[in-house]
């Protein structure tokens, strides 16, 4: 079922504001001395966090306006936001909160404009879509954390590649363990 005309129109009308507030809220999770930089440095290579956030939020808001959430659009966009937060100094809930907060921002702008009960039903549907984004985010977060764990193991193996090989050849206990 797709969003009816009215809600879509109200959402579209507030799209810019909602996006801006969402970006501001995400930037707001960083130290106040960092926010200016995140906001103003436009070069994507000099400010990856700011630029990824800006691009991903626009893509996600547009995706929410589509009838169906398209995984090919949504997954990479959620990834841009969550992959960074998965290695920054955030707890899991703090890392994920940036997706959920979109609900409050949307409500703030849209609820005062709603009159008919069908429109409220539409809003609930929209919120379900945000839940879906959050689920995608949850999966990505878990994958990132798993990957970090795996990277630790792989790194050990690479570092001791030749020693492990030598150990195999002479059939002794593995040599070169980092700790004794």
């Amino acid at each position: 079922m797709s969003m009816r005309h009215e809600l879509k129109a109200i959402f579209s009308e507030h799209k810019q504001q909602i996006t801006d507030e969402w970006v501001a809220a995400i930037f707001g999770t960083y130290d106040i001395d960092t926010v200016g930089f995140l906001r103003t440095q436009d070069n994507a290579f000099l400010n990856p966090v700011g630029n990824k956030t800006k691009k991903a939020t626009v893509a996600l808001i547009d995706a929410l306006l589509d009838d169906e959430l398209d995984s090919d659009t949504v997954t990479p966009a959620v990834n841009e936001i969550i992959q960074v937060r998965a290695v920054q100094q955030f707890e899991a809930d703090q890392a994920m909160s940036v997706l959920f907060v979109l609900k409050s921002i949307i409500r703030k702008h849209i609820v005062p404009k709603l009159s008919k009960s069908e429109e409220f039903a539409d809003l609930l549907e929209l919120e379900s879509k945000i839940d879906s984004l959050a689920l995608v985010g949850f999966r990505i977060y878990a994958e990132c954390r798993d990957k970090i764990q795996r990277m630790r193991v792989d790194e050990f193996k690479r570092k001791h590649f030749q020693l492990l090989k030598r150990a195999e050849r002479i059939l002794e206990k593995p040599v070169g363990e980092p700790e004794s």
Binding site: Q89, D93, V98, I148, D154, E155, H160, F161
Partner: protein, 536 residues
């Protein structure tokens, strides 16, 4: 009952946040926030001051009784010894040009990772004790009292600086935050505070000459394994000499090239190149490490560990030293070696390529040539035959390692070599390469897995640029001339640009190298089938 916070509360969304002065906020030192400490058993035999066992996650770091006096005297001594330090402490006008240039700031968003604030951590203490204004005005003049939390903060932030010097490139006064970090780390070492990941390799180097503590016979055996693999791939048998006097060249490379994947393929590349051009060289099992973690410890340790290079050249009667693909090794050689360990032994001469006759005037002082220069010169004079089509399945980019790029200006040679060895070469965006290159995120001894998250934050700017060329040009190989990079870039790529592999430069050179008497190459040095050249 403990209330579960809402998303808003978790995000602390509040637009009128009380602004604390940076001096009043403290880092939270929890698991993953700092690397593991060096142990007493490691520090003591090295003669490091105040060796003790301690745990950064506990409140008490067991500092020596007179720790304040140690810091005060240590700082005083260094201010007198290094005029640069005094200048760096005095002349910063806090213009902010360096503020957003650090990969750790960019990736973490933590303002104390802005180089200007990182330096301020030391400068504030300097002001308090060494400037008149600071003594009188205190905090108003940006001065603060030294307390134990300041020491913790130093440990936290000076080990989130990879001494990469990107920030100094943008400072109108040329203030080098990397050197400030070095001084701060020296001061921390005075208190017996160091990292396991740095001091363990230092201790191993001190004992056996290389980071992993490999003994001479094992080193030789491991190099021989590589020769077996070369024979498998090329049909050519190579028997390098070890510790043999009377050869023109002594070859020294980071031990990671002999021991670690993917560095070993680059080591195989060196051996194949030397064989092909008939270089008169030997390997030393004592100077079996080009890397020098003393650089991340103290000037005296750096000097001690570096001394083996000239000592071995003298013992073996070498005319000059050819050095392998390394980053910080070349910072040590290029910037400090002749002052620290010079003059070179009298048997040594200004390096001349025996193949092309090129005189490496730039190495007249140290007598050491970087292999990227050496090979670029061979290629320029058409002295080796390369078949770059063997690398056609690779779309290659080049990561400028901080030290070769910013500490020795080695930027064109590696590119010339790669373009000769590969048909598909693509640069990453201009503001992320050459002098402006972004660090791998784990140089200067931070390449340890317990801080993998911190490393990945620092790796973001490089990883992001890499992903860009991956998407745009299908880049699937990032080449570099640094052994630390060959260890740190694989996880970087794995996290930020999965699907991109990492190689040293000479791995790609050797894959393309047409050797006299070789069999038809069907495999690359990793013994993976070369597309289009499989056995019929």
């Amino acid at each position: 009952m403990a209330k579960i916070p809402s998303p808003e509360e978790l995000m602390q969304v509040s637009y009128d946040m009380p602004r604390e002065n940076w001096m009043d906020t403290k880092p939270e030192i929890t698991e993953g926030a700092v690397a593991y400490p060096a142990k007493k058993v490691t520090m003591e035999p090295l003669g490091m001051p105040n060796p003790h066992d301690w745990n950064p996650f506990e409140e008490d770091w067991h500092l020596p009784e007179n720790w304040e006096e140690i810091i005060y005297n240590g700082l005083k001594e260094r201010l007198e010894k290094y005029r640069s330090l005094k200048l760096f402490m005095d002349i910063c006008v806090r213009c902010g040009a360096c503020a957003d240039k650090c990969h750790y700031f960019i990736g973490s968003g933590d303002p104390k990772n802005m180089p200007v604030l990182r330096a301020e951590l030391l400068r504030s203490v300097y002001r308090k004790d060494f400037t008149t204004a600071g003594k009188i005005l205190g905090k108003l003049a940006g001065a603060r009292k030294l307390d134990k939390d300041v020491i913790k903060e130093w440990f936290y932030y000076f080990y989130q600086c990879t001494e990469c010097r990107r920030c100094s490139l943008y400072c109108p006064y040329g203030i080098d935050t990397a050197e400030i970090t070095m001084m701060a780390r020296e001061l921390l070492h005075e208190l017996g505070l160091g990292l396991h990941w740095i001091m363990d390799p230092v201790s191993n180097c001190n004992r056996t000459g290389n980071h992993l503590g490999i003994t001479p016979h094992a080193f030789k055996e491991i190099v021989e394994f590589l020769c077996e693999d070369i024979e498998e791939v090329t049909g050519i048998s190579i028997n390098p000499t070890f510790n043999e006097p009377g050869h023109e060249v002594l070859f020294i490379t980071p031990s990671g090239d002999a021991f670690a994947e993917p560095g070993i393929y680059t080591f195989m590349g060196y051996l194949m190149l030397f064989e092909e051009i008939g270089l008169d060289y030997t390997l030393s099992t004592y100077a079996s490490e080009g890397g020098n973690f003393g650089l991340f410890t103290s000037s005296s340790m750096m000097k001690k560990l570096n001394a083996k290079m000239y000592a071995e050249a003298e013992r073996l009667g070498s005319k000059w030293i050819l050095g392998g693909e390394c980053g910080h090794m070349w910072r040590v050689i290029n910037q400090y070696m002749s002052t620290m360990n010079g003059p070179a032994p009298s048997c040594m001469e200004t390096p001349v390529s025996p193949i092309t006759g090129t005189v490496f005037e730039n190495a007249a002082e140290t007598k050491m040539v970087h292999i990227a220069e050496f090979t670029a010169d061979l290629i320029k004079h058409n002295k080796i035959r390369l078949d770059p089509s063997r690398n056609d399945h690779l779309n290659v980019t080049y990561h400028d390692s901080c030290n070769p790029a910013r500490a020795m200006g080695l930027m064109d040679e590696p590119r010339e070599v790669l373009k000769a060895a590969c048909n598909n070469f693509y640069e990453m965006p201009e503001n992320t390469i050459r002098e402006q290159t972004f660090c791998c995120g784990a140089g200067s001894g931070l390449n340890t897995d317990e801080i993998m998250e911190i490393r990945m934050r620092g790796a973001l700017p490089r990883g992001n640029a890499l992903r860009h060329v991956q998407e745009k040009h299908g880049v699937n190989m990032m080449s570099c001339v640094c052994a630390i990079d060959r260890a740190t870039l694989p996880p970087l790529a794995d996290y930020w640009a999965p699907g991109v592999d990492v190689s040293g430069m000479h791995e790609l050179v050797a894959n393309a190298l047409v050797m006299k008497g070789e069999k038809k190459r069907t495999m690359d040095l990793r013994q993976e089938e070369l597309p289009g050249m499989e056995d019929e």
